[in-house]
């Protein structure tokens, strides 16, 4: 009944024997954030497809566990959607773990409304008030006299987690919030609903009106230079810089390669330049 997702591929002994010389072998364990999870899993699939002798397992149990697994040495890579806290860094130091931080991609969330909605810009403050229910009508924001239909991703999704962290802080969404199960479903609902507002990954805005936040349009560039407020780096942590030439070093370096960047884009994130 574990809901943890494990990806494990064991290479066949025969295959290994056949090209034993060129074949890389190794074992990589990753644990941590559900937001970074899709990238980690796509990387693992790609890398294991390339080198069947390598065995990579990815589990998603939250950023906090990513930090813990690095501190306790239970994982080779700790995936995190926020930087390690001071307390975590101190705990690592006391255990003799040399924490190395790698920013693998940026995660940006676009705020979308119905194409016919005249409201073109919001502040993070206004956005929060919309989602807490304090602002309930578009006329309060200079729009038409229409009730705001607040649409959110379900509470399981990494996008929800990001939005909750960067926009809601610790405030609760209004109980009128409608929840849907995917980026595509948000698009469908916002596209057909006059008063709707929703949030999606940057790759899913086609056919919708994207709202500027704090005067900045969400683009890969504005997310990368951090001028767009609803974006954040995604981290992979290791214990010390992995030695040159090892499987771990090559795997971790994937995000810098063109294939790796393509994979990151496919998952709806922004690769590092």
């Amino acid at each position: 009944m574990k809901v943890k997702r494990w990806i494990t591929v064991c290479a066949l002994a025969a295959a290994m024997a056949m090209n034993a010389g060129a074949e890389k072998k190794g074992n990589i364990v990753m644990d941590g954030s559900t937001t970074v999870g899709p990238i980690a899993k796509a990387f693992a699939e790609y890398y294991m497809g390339k080198y069947p002798g390598v065995n990579i397992s990815v589990s998603e149990s939250g950023s906090g566990n990513g930090a813990k697994s690095i501190i306790n040495g239970t994982a080779d890579i700790g995936n995190m959607s926020c930087a390690m806290k001071d307390s975590e860094l101190e705990a690592a130091k006391s255990k003799g773990v040399k924490v190395m931080e790698h920013i693998v991609a940026m995660d940006g969330i676009a705020i979308v409304v119905h194409p016919g909605n005249p409201v073109a810009a919001l502040t993070v403050e206004q956005l929060r008030k919309i989602y807490t229910g304090e602002i309930g009508n578009w006329s309060q924001l200079g729009g038409p006299n229409k009730p705001v239909v607040v649409i959110s991703r379900d509470t399981n999704s990494g996008t929800y987690e990001t939005f909750e962290t960067l926009v809601m802080h610790s405030e609760r969404m209004t109980d009128k919030t409608e929840y849907v199960g995917s980026n595509g479903a948000i698009r469908q609902r916002v596209m057909t609903t006059d008063g709707a507002i929703g949030y999606v990954g940057l790759a899913f805005t086609h056919g919708l009106k994207v709202v500027d936040i704090d005067g900045v349009t969400p683009t890969p560039e504005s997310v990368l230079d951090k001028s767009y407020p609803i974006g954040r780096p995604l981290y992979m942590y290791t214990n010390g810089e992995p030695a040159e030439g090892t499987v771990l070093a090559e795997f971790l370096g994937l995000y810098k390669t063109s294939d790796g960047k393509k994979i990151i884009e496919e998952q709806g994130f922004i690769p590092m330049p």
């Binding site: 009944m1 574990k2 809901v3 943890k4 559900t34 998603e60 149990s61 939250g62 566990n65 229409k146 009730p147 239909v149 379900d154 509470t155 399981n156 929800y160 987690e161 909750e164 610790s170 609760r172 109980d175 009128k176 919030t177 409608e178 929840y179 849907v180 199960g181 479903a185 469908q188 609902r189 057909t192 609903t193 006059d194 008063g195 709707a196």
Partner: protein, 383 residues
Amino acid sequence: MNADVPGNRPQHGLQLSKRARRLRRLGSLAGQGFLLLITSLSSLAVLFIFIFIAKDAIPFFTLRGFAEFFTSTRWYPSSQPPEFGVLSIFFGSGIVTLGAIIVSVPLGISAAVCLSDVLPFHLRQMVKPVIEMLAAIPSVAYGFFALVVLAPMMQEKGGSVLAVLAWCIGAPAAVLVVLVLSEVLSGGMPVRFRGAGRYGVGAALLGLAGWGLWRASAFLNAIVIPSGTNALNASVILGIMALPTVVSVSEDALQAAGRDLRMASYALGATRAETILRVVIPAAISGITSAVILGIMRAIGETMVVWMASGNAAQIPTPWFDFLQPVRTLTATIAGDMGEADHVTGSARYHVLFAMALCLLAFSFACNLASEMVVRRTKRRAG
């Protein structure tokens, strides 16, 4: 040669040796045992489902107690600190099911009466399979229709959709009521006026009903629906999904009332309406009740449609009967929150889903028991 003649078989059997007879008895015992095993497997499955759901539900109540779960309307399972108030979700399941009953029961029972007592035989042979086909459509297809067709339609046309819906449900119901009422009212008139009286009363009532419906649709036409995924959308779709169950079970019950009963009623001088209302339906009432209960169970257990069509907002609308607000149901919450509700990291969050499942299971169990009791009581009364 003789052994091949069927008539000789028993004789042949009588001559079986002791050993062969024992073998045969053993074989039949093994067969019976096998069948018993298969039958008990399905009942064991129910038992095991109950045990395993309860096993995972109890930790939630030991962690958080009962009060919050049943009395709070605040559902924030992923926030810090989390809140697990399920009252509004119970309410959501309830109101969506109520809506489905309002849609499916009048339509379903009238359709069943029409099929069993009104339509000619060859028409019935065509209509019934069509209604039963509704049951064969996968629920995700209904959900997709609700999300992509019905929801935008409600938002754009809003009130006019409601008006059309009101006509769809109201017009057949009104015609039925008018037909019955005119017959019942004219029954008290002197015989020579009865024919004309029936038509007069009928026309007057029909006019009244039409005027009422027209006023209602004018009122509904003015309503604007901000969000198309709401309790009404889910109710309508669930009602349609429950329809085949209600129709076929109650039609079977009406059929089972028997030809003798109808003939006896006609022989006493009753009209067709009187026969249906006072004889056939009362005779079949236990079957109709279980049809309604089965329909309720179909509606409350449905997941995909409500996840897509109800909006999933964990609130009790104000006023509570506002069907145009989004609501959240138990089934949709279980399906939607299962994904990452890891029992390692968020134990209460994981177990709360099982607590909800246990409530659902208990409810269906109670429904089943109720329908069983209704059937048994009427049987005893009739017997």
